[in-house]
Subunit: 521 residues, 2 copies
């Protein structure tokens, strides 16, 4: 069960979302409810250490002396003690991994993060930095008794440079709140994903989140201009430029983007924010063959060009799952495949004309079998829910084996077909959806309960398949705890060795988010 404090906090995030979603700006219509812990008190998952048989590292155990130090530093209200009180922070959203931390700290400043880390490093206490805890690979919760450093209170927006279009903020800002903040200046955060109502921008940076608009606005390695991070030693690394171009030495900020809190804790960010679009349109299309899907994507890139802002894919089974479990209804008849194609631009008339021409072409040629277009916020919200709530719908069926793979587009759907055949009737569902515009497939498999045999049938077969076609075994979710030992399917031995050397250099005692990202020795 959530402790009183934590429950209130979750409610704050939830109501924040409600407030935002009731606005009419087309860019804010994202469903984030899957990422709020509503049921963790009803069903308690097995401890990670037990399920995965992990051995605890030789770290110190939190003592009275440590607690006194933290309390002196933060005061009594920003330290939460007790394993039961921390259940929501020990368990991931999917309820597939569970740690046993009994200390959570809530710093408000970089200096406090620095003091915490310096102390933990001296006492060899392992730590788990935690943002919105919306991660899907077990990276954001402790594995054992790591001290949780929650970034919840580090949520100040420090500056918006309206000339250049750059926001500077602390890392604990909730993505959606930050986007709403810059919206007041006609800007947008160039990242959008289902969890936006809960996830932190610092967590997004630490996991190099991709999301729904990477196709248009590129990766965070391009959008993030500056990073301030604290090393394990407590040393603050200041790479906090807000300049769009800065070629002065090695660009250290990239060390912290995507390293999932294992090289440093991100405390501050500067982010390039594009102009907010004036017009948004969304098409929902039905298609009969995967070949048609591919053709439609290429046609969209060519004909919609610079206004294409999202190109998403859903297969029949994924849509069935969301219709059945969440009582949602697709706006067109049943098809083998569906696509969501979103345009965002500065001139609504131009955008509509481009989109209509495109639709006439793909419908006229028979490449697309059926389709509908929405530009009213409520209809777009409904259509987006069909895509964004699939993750939530899947959890209603029991245990979800969740995979996030990059594949060459020629092999994209073949993986789902092959896996379905490989698993046969032993599973409830094997379905695929995702960001086809980025070659990013979310492959999901469900069973009533977690079954080790099913897991063993999926892994490492799935990774071998992916590796053979030069895909990536984790497109945007990261490796976290669950996939760390499969890194070799996507990275060479030499690259992994170099990663380990860098970890050793930046965190010699290995206190930062242990058991994550890097494979066991």
């Amino acid at each position: 069960m959530f402790g009183g404090k934590e429950l209130r906090h979750v409610l704050t995030l939830a109501s924040q979302w409600t407030r935002v979603a009731s606005g009419s700006a087309p860019n804010t219509l994202r469903w984030n409810s899957p990422f709020i812990h509503t049921s963790s008190c009803q069903r308690k998952c097995e401890l990670t250490s037990k399920r995965y048989q992990v051995e605890r590292g030789k770290y110190g155990q939190v003592s009275e002396e440590n607690i006194k130090f933290f309390t002196d530093l933060l005061g009594p209200h920003r330290i939460i003690l007790g394993e039961a009180e921390l259940e929501g922070h020990n368990t991931d959203w999917l309820e597939t991994v569970r740690g046993a931390s009994s200390v959570l700290l809530k710093p408000k400043t970089t200096e406090e993060v620095s003091s915490i880390l310096s102390h933990c490093n001296q006492h060899r206490l392992a730590v788990c930095p935690q943002g919105g805890n919306t991660g899907l690979v077990g990276g954001s919760v402790p594995v054992f008794d790591e001290v949780i450093i929650s970034m919840n209170l580090m949520n100040k927006v420090e500056n918006v440079d309206t000339w250049a279009g750059v926001v500077t903020c602390q890392s604990g800002c909730v993505l959606e709140a930050l986007d709403q903040h810059v919206a007041e200046y006609g800007l947008m955060v160039p990242l959008d994903l289902g969890a936006k109502g809960s996830c932190h921008i610092g967590g997004n940076a630490s996991t190099n989140a991709g999301g729904l608009r990477l196709l248009r606005y590129g990766s965070l390695h391009g959008s993030i201009l500056g990073v301030e991070a604290v090393l394990a030693s407590g040393e603050v690394v200041d790479c906090m430029t807000a300049m769009k171009k800065d070629n002065t030495g090695y660009d250290l900020k990239h060390l912290f983007i995507g390293s999932e809190g294992t090289l440093g804790v991100i405390t501050k960010l500067a982010i390039n924010c594009p102009s907010r679009p004036q017009a948004v349109n969304l098409a929902f299309l039905g298609l009969n063959t995967y070949d048609d899907v591919l053709k439609t994507f290429v046609a969209a890139k060519k004909q919609l060009g610079e206004i294409l802002s999202s190109c998403e894919f859903i297969d029949r089974s994924s849509l069935e799952c969301v219709e059945k479990n969440l009582n949602l209804k697709a706006p067109i008849s049943s098809h083998e495949y569906y696509m969501l194609i979103e345009t965002s631009g500065s001139n609504g008339t131009h955008d509509e004309e481009k989109l209509n021409n495109f639709l006439e072409n793909v419908l006229g040629s028979g490449t697309v079998s059926d389709g509908t277009v929405a530009s009213e916020p409520s209809r777009m919200l409904h259509i987006w829910a069909l895509r964004e709530r699939i993750a939530e719908a899947l959890t209603r069926e029991g245990y979800t084996y969740k995979y996030d793979i990059s594949l060459p587009l020629t092999h994209f759907y073949k993986m789902v077909e092959d896996m379905r055949e490989h698993l046969g009737p032993t599973v409830m569902r094997c379905c695929g959806y995702g960001h086809i515009g980025d070659g990013n497939l979310h492959l999901n498999i469900t069973t009533h309960e977690f079954e080790k045999d099913v897991l063993n049938k999926i892994e490492p077969a799935l990774y071998e398949w992916t590796s053979k076609v030069n895909g990536s075994i984790s497109a945007e979710h990261g490796l976290g705890f669950k996939k760390r030992n499969y890194i070799h399917y996507s990275k060479s031995a030499g690259a992994v060795t170099l990663m380990k050397q860098m970890k050793k250099l930046l965190d010699p005692n290995g206190i930062l988010n242990p058991y994550k990202v890097l494979p066991d020795d």
Copy 2:
């Protein structure tokens, strides 16, 4: 004087440009002649080691045994010996720095680069990796007798994934040739700069080149998907994914992007290529105040939105310089400031309508005083030449003190005014131009000959000024040899220490491009 072989090579590059420029694809109309060594044989600049009083590191000297190893590896035609023969490779394009290497190697494969580096590392021979040698901070030529590894022959395009829009190639591909190659598939390389006819894509990556379209397509840290690099030890680090999303461990490729060949030699790249625009328009505007320039930029971002592909700035002195020294003529009357605003889109009619509306607004309000629009390739070429040939025009006046600064837009032109006042009549010219859309100012100062006193009056005053307003002392040119000791004006001591630790980790003997990027101890 160039050796026969080298001169022929330069001619090949030059004629390659001519061929390309005579085509009609609007995206290829770039002038690159400033980056071809035409005059290095006429005027020989002082040795870097003497002018800057640098001390040679404790490296080995190339022996007969080393030459034999290289010759056995590459054959007699891919090793060039003799300081005189290498003059074009020892001197930078600006003719401001000159090394004294007597060995140049031309590998064709990653394996050859690996063998060369492994051998050099064992024998403590310093090396200078060299692409198109178009760098402006002395990073691409040796300081002493470093072995030059020329990437000229590593120019194979390996694959174009037309579904995803990704090109995979060796690092020695000339940027313009690569762009022409992908143009055949309706794609473009998301980078464009004046030196495109000579510079290598690997050099662009190593220096994190910015250029004319960063505003639209973002930085290379976002566009480059995969990198293969060879470490000093000869070990090949394979991060060669062609996937748009790949979150499997630390993203090591960023170590090599922008580190100017000091951490590894890039041998292969995978680059995300956007759809090639169907229509390009270019406006050349005259403005009376800097405040008007700022307002016009913000209006362009808002009203042109997604079709804005370049926003460039020229001051009166820069335009006068190009008109006087290159006999070019501006298409509008004289103004204090000029802007080039380029649009690229998928629908010519829509783009023209947006551009016309924008121009009506800014001309109607008096923000812009005069302007002209071009969409025919020849007229666009002429207008672009006014911007792109400024660097060349400046060299005609004598010695150029060249600075490439990022600044908050509120301080952008104040720097030029302050520097002009600070230097007074001791210099011939003090002018500013650049990528205002990225906050990137090219400040240039000229005197008849190099004058140490003038240099001392500019530096470090200029860097202090930049640092005070939180700018960057090198926006896109890098630190190379010339700016390495000023890194502290843009980076914290802690960050520099971490950079040195990383250098030590990746290149323990310091053989890779020494005397560059990192400050002297």
